[in-house]
């Protein structure tokens, strides 16, 4: 499998418009943190240790492909350009931390990009599975399988009291971080988010806007994940997150219905204006693109906007980021230039979609 494919294609498996409650839950992610005995953690280890860990982990995974029923591609991070690293970060396939790593590290990616195993990130091993929609158990089973397989061959650092020993004490215990990415436009429009965030936090979950803490969420997309990893079983962590997610889904649906019932034409006008901006604008900042994407997505979910495919919106959400835009443009871009290219990209994608006679070519392969 050519590495180029992971870099050029903005479509990735978790964006598929499928899975339960896919209109509200965009994706589900499970992450397991693991370390090997006999090597210091990446924060303090030597290049020699890094190399040994990298070889040991990748050998096991590449050996077990048939058992796992997926094929993995080994991508050496040091061998990638800064731009290509950024592209993998924008697709959520590696973390910013691994992208900036100065020692030997790698990512092993399954062909469908649903599984990524990062080696020598903050921990020796980070198993990550991303599924579209709300699929906590499915993603957990996948990650758990890979964990079982690695554990058979590699000596894990584990302690009966502290569980899986991780570099950061916020991961000790199960090493499990489960999260769901939710699109919550109606709760945001009706000013219910602040109160909801307070409640969710009190229930031991963490909520953050998609690009960091404290700031308003771009495109009304929020990530909700478990905070506690010690003293709670994997099952309990997943059950609690599932039940909180379901409650938020219900609240979002109620808010959507309320919006639709009170002033439907005002809502419809707003959503269509946003579709107009995305389709015809010549300059698009990320802020505006995020807001309009959220509106159009809501319009599709409510049945007000027809003829636009949600998966195109998902693709644009990834593609509008700086790394992808620069690959698309084929050169490095200043922020104002990016706004111009971003607008061009949206025009092309949305018009391609409107024009059903297109030949199905992929205009974004650079």
């Amino acid at each position: 499998m050519s590495i180029e494919r992971f870099l050029n294609n903005s479509v990735t498996s978790w964006m598929a418009d499928e899975g339960e409650h896919a209109d509200i839950v965009m994706s589900t992610r499970i992450r397991l943190a693991r370390n090997l005995t006999g090597y210091r953690f990446p924060l303090s280890f030597s290049e020699n240790e890094a190399l040994q860990v990298d070889q040991a982990v990748s050998a096991v995974l590449l050996d077990a492909e048939s058992e796992l029923e997926s094929t993995f591609s080994y991508i050496d991070i040091k061998g990638l350009s800064t731009l290509n690293r950024q592209v993998l970060v924008e697709k959520h396939l590696i973390s910013p931390k691994l992208a900036h790593s100065e020692v030997t590290g790698s990512v092993l990616l399954s062909d469908d990009e649903a599984i990524s195993v990062m080696v020598n990130e903050e921990d020796h091993i980070r198993i990550q599975c991303i599924f579209p929609g709300l699929q906590l158990l499915e993603a957990w089973h996948q990650a758990n399988n890979i964990d079982d397989m690695l554990e058979k061959e590699l000596p894990y650092a584990f302690d009966e009291q502290f569980g899986y020993l991780t570099s950061c004490p916020t991961n000790s215990g199960t090493g499990l971080r489960a999260s769901v990415m939710m699109h919550l436009p109606a709760l945001t429009m009706t000013n219910q988010m602040n109160r909801l965030v307070t409640t969710i936090t009190r229930l031991g979950m963490v909520v953050r806007g998609i690009y960091g803490e404290g700031s308003e969420a771009l495109g009304n997309v929020y990530q909700i994940s478990n905070q506690t990893t010690l003293g709670k079983s994997e099952e309990d962590i997943l059950t609690d997150l599932q039940s909180i997610t379901e409650q938020i889904i219900q609240k979002e649906r109620e808010a959507r219905n309320a919006l639709l019932n009170t002033r439907p034409n005002v809502l419809e006008d707003r959503l269509y204006r946003s579709l107009g901006v995305l389709t015809y604008a010549r300059i698009l900042t990320t802020e505006e693109a995020g807001r309009c994407l959220s509106d159009v997505r809501l319009g599709i979910d409510l049945g007000l906007i027809k003829g636009v495919d949600v998966s195109i919106l998902n693709e644009c959400m990834i593609f509008m980021q700086p790394g992808f835009l620069q690959k698309y443009a084929g050169m490095s871009l200043q922020s104002e230039e990016r706004d111009v290219f971003r607008a061009k990209l949206f025009r092309e994608r949305l018009q391609v979609d409107n024009n059903l006679n297109n030949e199905g070519e992929e205009p974004h392969d650079v």
Partner: protein, 183 residues
């Protein structure tokens, strides 16, 4: 100075860009600066800033008190495997190696209590051999309970049999938890 992008909020972030070999400085507000890296789901970030939490914990009002306490306590030796001190662990908010957990075992429950909602002991998945060990321990405990019961009703023959069973399992436990027929 006002943000170059939105021209509304005060500029707080200076971004240096390299353009055709020359450095260009741009001044943005925090909000706009963040937007230049949109949709960066920084999923590796810790859910709560441990550093912040720990520094609050050892924060200004308490620090004198804590320092005093630490002077009274015997000094915690650094980790013998990576050389990190407990203080270093608190400052970084990270462990240097897996052995740090052993080195700071006594201090850790109070840290974990703060981070994990009062919890200090792992519940959940364990690697195979540890899982087997835990099972053995439970089995041994159960046998001992039956043994006490047997003694209680003066069935010493049964008690002796159970004692031998428990001893056999203990031997297994000490030899690393592998049952004798495997390897």
């Amino acid at each position: 100075m006002i943000c170059e992008n939105c021209k509304q909020r005060p500029a707080k972030v200076t971004v240096t860009q390299i353009q055709d070999g020359t450095h260009v400085q741009r001044h943005y507000c925090e909000k706009c600066a963040q937007n230049f890296h949109p949709f960066h789901l920084d999923f590796q970030q810790d859910p709560l800033s441990l550093h912040q939490l720990l520094s609050n914990w050892f924060g200004a009002p308490e620090s004198a008190q804590v320092q005093q306490k630490q002077q009274l306590q015997p000094k915690i030796p650094p980790c013998s495997s990576c050389g990190w001190t407990f203080r270093q662990f608190l400052n970084e908010g990270k462990f240097g190696c897996a052995h740090c957990y052993e080195s700071f075992r006594e201090q850790l429950p109070s840290v974990f209590k703060k981070l994990h909602n009062g919890n200090v002991k792992h519940v959940g998945k364990a690697p195979g051999k540890f899982g087997h060990k835990l099972q053995l321990k439970k089995q041994i405990e159960a046998i001992r309970t039956s043994m006490q019961a047997a003694i209680g009703i003066e069935n010493f023959e049964e008690a002796a049999k159970l004692r031998d069973e428990a001893r056999e399992l203990e031997k297994q436990l000490q030899s690393g938890g592998e049952p004798p027929d495997v390897n």
